[in-house]
């Protein structure tokens, strides 16, 4: 650029007017009041579609109802059958008795063993018959798991039952 152009630019720079303080407000007011602009803006006034309300109601109902799969799964709510409580209580009672019985049986077995080895046998000694039955099945007494379903081992018939425990169901019933 020439020195004359520089001089001209410097001269022109002396006049740089700015908006006065009220200018912005006046422009905004003018725009807001512009009827043509209002008409233009009014051309875009969207309204809910015909099925909007129904869709919103359905969505709210879905939310309130929860997952339909959960509602379906809730259709299966099994309950204990009438005999269940009695079976469980019976089994627990048997557990309680077994806990005291095992200690007693082992003590009785030990006493019977002492009697067998120490006391002379004689005819008509009825007590020794019961002790002999107990001794004959000491192996069963030693096997804890085989007696857990029963209340007590009191006679030969019960010993035979214990020996056949494979055929006894979980409730202790043959």
């Amino acid at each position: 650029m020439s020195r004359e152009d520089d001089a001209l630019d410097a001269l022109l720079a002396l006049d740089r007017p700015v908006p006065t303080s009220g200018f912005d407000a006046r422009v905004r007011a003018a725009i807001a009041a512009d009827p043509a602009l209002d008409a233009l803006l009014a051309a875009d006034r969207p309204a809910p579609g015909a099925d909007f309300d129904a869709r919103v109601r359905a969505a709210i109902a879905d939310e309130a109802a929860g997952d339909p799969l959960d509602a379906l799964l809730a259709a299966d709510r099994p309950i204990p059958s009438p005999g269940f409580d009695a079976r469980v209580r019976g089994a627990v009672r048997a557990e309680r008795r077994r806990g005291g019985w095992i200690a007693g049986a082992l003590a009785a077995a030990a006493a019977a063993a002492a009697l067998f080895f120490v006391a002379p046998r004689g005819e008509g000694d009825g007590d020794l018959d019961a002790d002999a039955a107990l001794l004959a099945h000491l192996d069963l007494l030693e096997v804890y798991g085989e007696v857990e379903a029963l209340d007590a081992l009191e006679d030969e018939e019960t010993f035979e039952l214990v020996a056949a425990l494979d055929d006894v169901n979980a409730e202790g019933i043959p």
């Binding site: 359905a58 109902a61 379906l72 799964l73 299966d76 709510r77 309950i79 204990p80 469980v88 209580r89």
Partner: protein, 199 residues
């Protein structure tokens, strides 16, 4: 800093069982008989075998009483025992799933506003379909679903019951629900149609 565990009422009852209170065990049994039977029956799909397994659970609890130390919610503990009992059952080599029989269903009466015979038949068929669909899920998916859906256990508690992780439990539940949604699709559609739910 170690977590402080606050005893819930059932854990306190179990402590009393440990200390020799037979009445406390009766109370626990009364409170948990339905949830445990429900879990076991839905797990194996059969009322009779489910009840046998439930009985085993209560006996295990009773036998373990001397060693009981409350380290978690009682619900989480009893369902860990129930889950292991049921998983052991279905993992026996001789175990075979038997399809659900409508005759076998024992149901808690819930809807007395629908006394009509065809409604009752419909309800039984729906129950049988739901039970069969659940009983044929893979074992761990089924366990996770029943623990969450029926018993309200947290992800952490379900993970503890299954000896797994929380993220694995979430994956199991996601897969279980997708599978069930497919298997029960006709029932879900029918329900939506009759109740006008969803689009």
């Amino acid at each position: 800093m170690s977590e402080v565990f606050v005893l819930d009422e059932d854990a306190r009852l179990m402590c009393r069982v440990r200390d020799g209170d037979a009445g406390a065990f009766d109370r626990l049994f009364e409170r948990w008989r339905v949830p445990i039977v429900r879990f076991a029956v839905r797990f194996v799909g059969r009322q009779d075998r489910g009840e046998e397994l439930a009985q085993e659970v209560f006996l295990k609890l009773y036998r373990a009483r001397a060693r009981y130390e409350p380290r978690e919610r009682f619900a989480a503990w009893i369902f860990r025992v129930a889950t292991n009992t049921c998983l052991n059952e279905v993992r026996r080599p001789e175990y075979r799933h038997r399809p659900v029989d409508v005759e076998d269903l024992a149901q808690e009466p819930t809807d007395r506003s629908r006394p009509r015979a065809d409604d009752a038949v419909h309800a039984l068929r729906l129950q049988a379909a739901v039970r069969e669909a659940v009983a044929t899920l893979p074992d761990t998916q089924r366990a996770a679903l029943l623990l969450q859906q029926d018993q309200g256990l947290s992800y952490d508690e379900i993970a503890a019951a299954l000896d797994s992780t929380t993220s694995a439990v979430k994956a199991l539940l996601n897969r279980a629900r997708r599978t069930l949604t497919e298997r029960l699709a006709p029932w879900l559609e029918a329900r939506r149609a009759t109740e006008g739910v969803g689009t």
